[in-house]
């Protein structure tokens, strides 16, 4: 009952005029960002984070979470109408969404995606409301060894479950962690890693500098080079009568995929490093696997649209759970949200539920409102978004570059950091060319300032004995799971070799 009371307060807070306005703007911006090929929630949140300093932290995070939500809905628009996923989270939506559009049923695909997204987001928000206080309560007893073990787990999941090249993933994680140590040693107060003796590095390297460089400059450059402007739009014909018929058909032919995506997406989203992209792909796979007519998948099945769309919305809410309760982001976007919270003077983690309960419940309340707003705005303005998608990339791209640079300056107030944004952006482009995953580096630069002090405090507690991570009742299982995850690729490799020998 206490949860319901907190939730009611949270919803009321989210309904305050400034918050409802920010939700509407955030959802609309998110829908557009999600729909634009090459831009996803992470780009939107990274580029727009600096402008949120204008409003109080509670409203700022509601705005950014609304962008996150809207982007998850918006990804489907370009997957269906352009055949290009608006974001990686909507890749699986193209499998059946695009064939439906080519059959002249773009409207059915978009309506199915919108309804599935709404159900996925709502189911996940209910789970979030139930689980978050429990997890936060448990996490209150965590000391430095437990927190460091959780950090280790977050990085280990990238290695074990990320699916990228393992040495390159490890390099990326360590690179992000080292960048976080530049500036001053917080314990001794001495300058540390002042690279090439450039004074600008004394200020350290903020996570936002890396995030804007990677997701603002690097990814834009990547999209310009990769798409080469070869995009054709399929216009959905939407009328009020058609919308009602499509809604009926979407519910009838998409409910299985929606159910699978809503549940599976949440639990995959909770895992650090997993997030909405694997959640949506996995849900598509499971929905196809258990379908009575799997042959329909890939040729325009509404279930095939519903499963990934429900999952990516569900996973995006799931990814917020470890971020708010444990201080560990479940996705690159939540890593940036977490970094933003630190800038706003909040400490993510279990104490947040005690010390900043209004902030937390306001955010949870906003999830419900954002879901409804996303559904309504999405359905009402699909033709407008499709029209906006026709905006030439040669107009959008320079606007994104400008927002990245001016937004980066607003956050960092230093030309040194602006140059770093450009260097990171160009570097990210070439690293991506060689399959270096960049999300682990962004996650690491956010978690680095938490990981290092907790490791050093833990080792101080144990007089330098690392067995402290294996002897404490909560830290030990987390550390062991992390080590298993790190070793998982090696086990898989050994098994494959043995199978080859036996085969």
């Amino acid at each position: 009952m206490e949860v319901l009371s907190f939730l009611a307060d949270g919803v009321l807070l989210a309904l305050e005029p400034i918050n409802i306005m920010l939700i509407l703007i955030g959802v609309t911006v998110g829908l557009f960002i999600g729909a634009m090929p090459g831009l996803g929630s992470v780009n939107g949140v990274a580029i727009l984070l600096p402008i949120t300093f204008l409003v109080p932290p509670g409203s700022a995070i509601i705005f950014l979470a609304a962008i996150y939500y809207g982007a998850m809905y918006g990804g489907a628009i370009s997957s269906v109408t352009l055949g290009i996923p608006g974001a990686s989270t909507a890749v699986a939506t193209t499998f059946d969404g695009r064939p439906l559009a080519l059959q002249g049923r773009a409207s059915l695909a978009l309506v199915t995606a919108a309804i599935a997204s709404f159900v996925g987001g709502t189911v996940a928000t209910v789970f979030f409301t139930l689980f978050a206080p429990l997890l936060a309560n448990l996490a209150l007893s965590f000391g430095p060894p437990e927190i460091f073990a959780l950090m280790l787990l977050a990085f280990a999941t990238f290695v074990g479950l990320g699916g990228d090249d393992i040495p390159k993933t490890i390099f990326s994680i360590c690179f992000g962690l080292v960048l976080a140590t530049v500036g001053f040693d917080t314990i001794s107060g001495e300058p540390r890693l002042v690279l090439f003796e450039i004074d600008g590095f004394l200020r350290g390297i903020g996570f936002i500098v890396l995030a804007i460089g990677v997701y603002g400059i690097g990814e834009m450059l990547w999209t310009i080079v990769e798409t080469r402007g070869e995009i054709t739009t399929t216009n959905p014909k939407m009328t009020a009568k058609g919308l009602a018929a499509d809604t009926k058909e979407a519910v009838k032919r998409g409910w299985k995929g929606t159910t699978i995506g809503s549940f599976l997406g949440f639990f995959v989203g909770v895992l650090p490093a997993a997030g909405a992209t694997p959640g949506s792909l996995m849900s598509y796979g499971v929905a196809k696997m258990i379908s009575k007519r799997p042959e329909e998948y890939g040729s325009g099945s509404p279930d095939g649209v519903a499963a990934p769309e429900a999952a990516n919305n569900s996973a995006s809410t799931g990814a917020m759970l470890p971020m708010l309760t444990l201080g560990i982001p479940g996705s690159p976007t939540t890593a940036i949200l977490l970094g933003g919270m630190v800038i706003w003077g909040l400490t993510p983690g279990p104490r947040l539920f005690v010390d900043e309960s209004e902030f937390v419940w306001g955010l949870i309340g906003s999830f419900y409102i954002s879901n409804v707003a996303s559904l309504l705005i999405n359905l009402a303005f699909i033709p407008l978004f499709v029209w906006m998608l026709r905006m030439p990339f040669t107009i959008l791209a320079p606007l994104i570059f400008v927002l990245s640079i001016i937004g980066g300056f607003a956050a960092a107030r230093s030309m040194h950091d602006i140059w770093l944004i450009v260097i990171f952006g160009l570097g990210a482009f070439f690293m991506r060319k060689f399959d270096y995953p960049l999300a682990p580096a962004v996650l690491a630069i956010v978690l680095g300032p938490i990981a290092e002090p907790t490791l050093r405090q833990s080792l101080l507690l144990s007089s330098g004995d690392p067995s402290i991570f294996f002897t404490r009742p909560i830290a030990a299982p987390i550390t062991i799971i992390a080590i298993i995850l790190i070793l998982l690729p090696a086990f898989k490799l050994l098994r494959r070799k043995r199978e080859l020998v036996e085969g």
Partner: protein, 167 residues
């Protein structure tokens, strides 16, 4: 691609060694009573970066990564041209900030991109290149109270006029 992958790994290995050397300017071992030294964490992370570079090179030698077996160039002519024109444009934009102010650099960059890369009409180019910096000026300077770089002294008359409007 093949040559590029090993070159990048080599570059990162050198950078890792540099980071290890820089980190060792502070103690990298355990100090009784105060715990691990200030260089401990970055030193060992840089060491793992170096090991990762070794593993990347090992995979490259065995032909286990997609890039190591690719015969394609890193970028084709269109790709290099795009990187140079777009990336170079962004670099020039940032370089101009301290000369003609943030807003002046934005106007020049937008004009360059829209007109010369996007081949849009002069009307559209000028409309966006003039109105957007003015809109951003009011947003950052008036609403957010954040002062952007104003460049060299010759831009001052422009800022005097704009500040007169705000205050």
């Amino acid at each position: 691609m093949r040559q590029g992958e090993i070159s990048l790994a080599g570059l990162f290995a050198l950078f890792s060694l540099y980071l290890m050397w820089k980190a060792s300017e502070l103690p990298i071992g355990y100090i009784r009573g105060t715990g691990p030294g200030g260089g401990f964490w970055p030193f060992w992370l840089s060491f793992v970066m170096l090991l990762s570079c070794g593993a990347i090179a090992w995979n490259w030698w065995r032909g286990k990564s997609p890039a190591s077996t690719s015969r394609e160039p890193l970028l084709d002519a269109f790709g290099w041209r795009t990187v140079i024109l777009v990336g170079g444009g962004v670099v020039a934009f940032v370089a101009l900030i301290n000369v003609i102010s943030m807003y002046g650099a934005i106007a020049i960059f937008l004009a360059y991109y829209l007109r010369f890369l996007g081949r849009h009409s002069w009307w559209l180019t000028l409309a966006i290149a003039i109105l957007l910096p003015i809109g951003l000026f009011f947003f950052f300077e008036a609403a957010m109270l954040i002062s952007m770089p104003q460049g060299m002294p010759f831009t001052q008359p422009f800022f005097d006029v704009m500040y007169d409007i705000i205050y």
